[in-house]
Symmetry: C2
Subunit: 592 residues, 2 copies
């Protein structure tokens, strides 16, 4: 077990070491004055988690209860393994949509096989996260760049919101991608259910009013910012309950679909008991989805946990978070749930509501169990359209075009990465989309370094400084061409660098010495050195001698492993000025 960091920072000394190692520091040092905050946060988060759990289970194609089970187990487990004090774990919109995409080709939503596959997917995802944590691969999410993360979130959110529009309007409009949605659109329009549509749209409007303008209003009326923000998250719940009650008291002659009688708790149908009834081929086809869902969930968890920890001067250990999330997913699989992760919205609510330790989350789990027990019969009256409205409200916040604008303004290539990932998700779904995103981020980085900047430099009069001849008034010598290379040299750009410098050489036909200034070259690879060696021989054939200057320590170390330096007529010069003093014809004055 990794050691536990405590909010107070002092290690516990009261219990025998072996037991102590299993009890998190925050528990060993729990202070009574934290309890009020933890308690109030636990209640508010439970109020948020119940409708979210039901809605995300529906999104994943699972019975609504699965979403609640997946909220209970992980919350209890996270307290023991997590390193964040305020992270709140449970089902999330993106991972739920990815779960549906992964399972749709394998079984019919709602079937026993589907439940079993969902639990297996959760189990595999948890095992993979634990494996990553064990090998300390907490840095894995760094292969995704910010525009790719943003484009992925926005694309998935839009896809989820569009996918829920059918349930909101009372028609069967389904599809994993915008293409399928577009194809199914005409048929869906024909089957619109008028009263569901009216009910759903008014529900959406009322819940939106409760979430946004109402919380603004509270803020203006003098309620503290954090409290107003929280109210915005919680207020849609009473609106939803009121609307459901209204519909239930009316004679439901309008045939607006409700959740209906829920099946009894299926805590027994867990992944563990059902695993032997699965064939190996199904499990194999779940491996890649499990990995991608695990990574997407971890990415979301670590991002929110780190940003909140930083604002509270605490730290979060990425590798411990991997282990913790892995354990949470195992717990979810065992109770028959679905993939879980930390979520932005609920973690912010938890923090603002005063949570001090993971006790808040553990108490939330207890409230959810009580609610399950007391409210189960009432859930039957919950209209599906309102759950769809919940999902649409949650995902609409994630579609931010101002992110695209900012990325584009900074560098159009970052904007392209945003757009390509966004479009990729819309066209291929979140599962292929996230893989595509990794490829796009890397391809753009390579594109950037592939056409490097080089500058012919000259001497700033009476100094040891050498600057770009195009930007400064400098002195040059026709016999010596001095070129600064502003990029690392590696297989993908070395040919371009050589071509660019050859072009410069043809424009300076008097050059007999070529000086490469490597002050901005931080690394050089085998392919680049071999290309330089070949080029050095070609230049020698043309009567031009190649020299190096300002080679950095690590690059020099690398070059010493090969024989390139032995081919040079002069060892690398320590500075451009030293090189110019040696290489320039004697009659020129290169002293200061």
């Amino acid at each position: 077990m990794p050691s536990r960091s405590s909010p107070t920072g002092t290690p516990g000394r009261r219990l025998p070491r072996r037991i102590q190692a299993w009890i998190p520091n925050w528990m060993q040092h729990y202070r009574r004055d934290w309890l009020a905050g933890d308690l109030s946060a636990s209640i508010i988060v439970a109020l948020l988690l119940i409708p979210q759990g039901l809605a995300y289970a529906q999104l994943a194609g699972l019975p609504p209860m699965a979403g609640l089970y997946a909220s209970i187990g992980p919350l209890l487990v996270y307290g023991f393994f997590g390193s964040s004090m305020t992270q709140s774990v449970g089902p999330m919109a993106i991972t739920s949509a990815m779960t549906a995409a992964a399972l749709a080709p394998l079984a019919a939503p709602g079937s026993t096989q589907y439940l079993l596959l969902a639990a297996t997917l959760t189990l595999l995802s948890g095992l993979m996260l634990m494996l990553f944590g064990t090998f300390k691969l907490g840095g894995i999410t760094r292969i995704l760049s910010l525009p790719v993360i943003q484009g992925f979130s926005a694309g998935t959110a839009l896809l989820i919101a569009l996918g829920q529009t059918g349930a909101l309007l009372g028609t069967a409009w389904r599809g994993d991608t915008v293409l399928v949605l577009a194809i199914n659109f005409p048929a869906a329009v024909h089957k619109l259910h008028l009263s569901t549509m009216l009910f759903g749209l008014s529900g959406l409007a009322l819940m939106w009013l409760a979430a946004n303008p109402a919380s603004h209003l509270l803020g203006k009326l003098g309620v503290a910012d954090k409290a107003a923000q929280m109210a915005g998250k919680i207020l849609p719940l009473p609106v939803m309950i009121a609307l459901a009650a209204l519909l239930a008291t009316l004679d439901n002659t309008h045939q607006i679909k409700t959740l209906g009688q829920l099946p009894a708790a299926h805590l027994g149908s867990s992944a563990i008991t059902g695993l032997n009834s699965l064939d190996l081929a199904s499990v194999q086809s779940l491996l890649l989805p499990a990995l991608l869902i695990g990574l997407a969930g971890f990415l979301q968890s670590i991002t929110v946990a780190q940003s909140i920890a930083a604002s509270r001067h605490q730290t979060v250990d990425a590798n411990r978070e991997l282990l913790a999330l892995g354990n949470c997913n195992l717990a979810s699989a065992i109770v028959g749930g679905m993939p879980v992760s930390g979520g932005f919205s609920r973690t912010v609510v938890n923090t603002n509501a005063g949570a001090q330790t993971p006790l808040a989350g553990m108490l939330s789990a207890i409230w959810i169990i009580l609610a399950l027990w007391a409210l189960l019969p009432l859930l039957a009256f919950l209209p599906q359209a309102l759950l769809a409205a919940t999902i649409i409200l949650a995902t609409a916040r994630m579609i931010s075009l101002s992110q695209l604008r900012q990325a584009w303004q900074f560098d159009y290539r970052d904007g392209i990465a945003w757009l390509m990932t966004f479009g990729g998700v819309l066209l291929t779904g979140p599962m292929v989309g996230i893989a595509l995103g990794v490829g796009i981020a890397i391809a753009l980085y390579l594109w950037r370094s592939q056409q490097p900047h080089i500058a012919v430099v000259g001497r700033v009069a009476q100094s040891e400084h050498y600057r770009n001849v195009l930007r400064h008034q400098v002195e040059t010598t026709p016999e010596v061409l001095a070129v600064r290379i502003d990029e690392n040299l590696y297989f993908a750009n070395i040919a371009n660098v050589i071509t660019q410098i050859n072009t410069q050489l043809s424009q300076h036909p008097a050059s007999r010495q070529l000086l490469l200034i490597l002050s901005a070259v931080n690394s050089i690879d085998y392919s680049a050195v071999n290309a330089l060696k070949d080029w050095q021989r070609e230049l020698a054939d043309q009567g031009i001698t190649l020299h190096l200057a300002e080679v950095k320590g690590p690059v020099l170390d690398t070059l010493r492993h090969g024989d390139f330096l032995d081919q040079l007529t002069h060892p690398p010069f320590i500075s451009t000025h030293a090189a110019m003093q040696t290489l320039s014809p004697q009659e020129l004055d290169y002293s200061i």
Copy 2:
């Protein structure tokens, strides 16, 4: 049409422009004194191409004649489109093995369907190369690093040589990967054909003696190096003919397999006439193989063409080579051949034998046609074991462990790239292997830049120079921590950089000013800037002010697009010294 460069460098002015545009410069300016070289080279290359064509067709699972057809058409076409003066085009070992790997799942080798698919594959490959050339994507092969290219060649060569061992020893030992070969090994050993084995092994030994020690001997006896080298390439042919003649004159009671009666020329069964009998699914499944075969062929062509052109002070245009190779493959498809490319061995022979222009290749094609006409009946007596020996001799040269040693010595990561690509090809075949290679090259480059070097710097006494405190005797100020970052900042490494500097800050608790020296940062992306912005706010919370110095022009331009610079309390300093003069407490003397 792109303009043609001529060996003499002057544009032609004798013909009407429209006709002239279709006639390559070298034809318009052909000098009589080039003819002797072209003629002698054409004969020697034809002698080399005939056994190679037959052998590589067998390797691709095609009738031997397909290899000869594929040598004729492309050689005639290359003269009109190519930009290299000495490139020799035809079937190659690696692309032949890739052809077999691509077609094996789709049809039985030797069947009419197989021939049709081979011609279609060649056609698609040619069209793709032309498309790449049209869009000027000649730089496409730069996504492969040198160790990856070397590991790919060595792995494919070993796989080809192992695959031919069955034919050499007279047993049916087959397999696309080392795993399949290993599984089939016991059965193959049981069916060894003793007399074929003895004949094949002696043939291999004699041909090897003719190729290597004999040419060394000639060199020692005073024959010019180039001539001795050429003799090494050509001598195995008479040995092969002699052995085949020997076998034919003996009563063949030993049942050593020969090519047997060859089917009549199938110039009619071309891709064009057969295309409409192919289903779309087959054509679709050929798209990716066609792309990879095209790229592998182009990679080999451009490498050898550019290295020879450089040694002769000529240039080769990668985009024109793409178009030329594309046309060559179209020609090969039309005559019912197989994918073609420039080849290292034959292009070197062509050059050393005195070729001055592509006329040498065109004449070779004519000799091959004559040979086909005159020698066709005799080919029936050629033992398959000797063709296998030809392939094994050609590929054995490509397996160079000294390349691995050199790459490893330079940087163990380049060695790993070599080994991983080599192993990947052996385990998955050349087709998946080349795709794997691209991934490995990029992953290693990212790995390299992911853990960048940073250095805390101090002032070299009485100077404006600042150096690494670990490597030099320098002066520092406790209030100011100056850190130089030696890598471009982007999404994959920014978190590591911040963590490293945070560690330095915790070791210098008195620091109130943090100065980042960006002299070696050539680019910065959106993700990195956003991380820096968040970090700047966290540092401010801790009472530490962030400053920048020595920001390069292009990086400064990029930073101006966002609002990061506005957050800073002081604009970026022009030099580290200027920053230290401003930021250090007044009592310290920072004048020179």
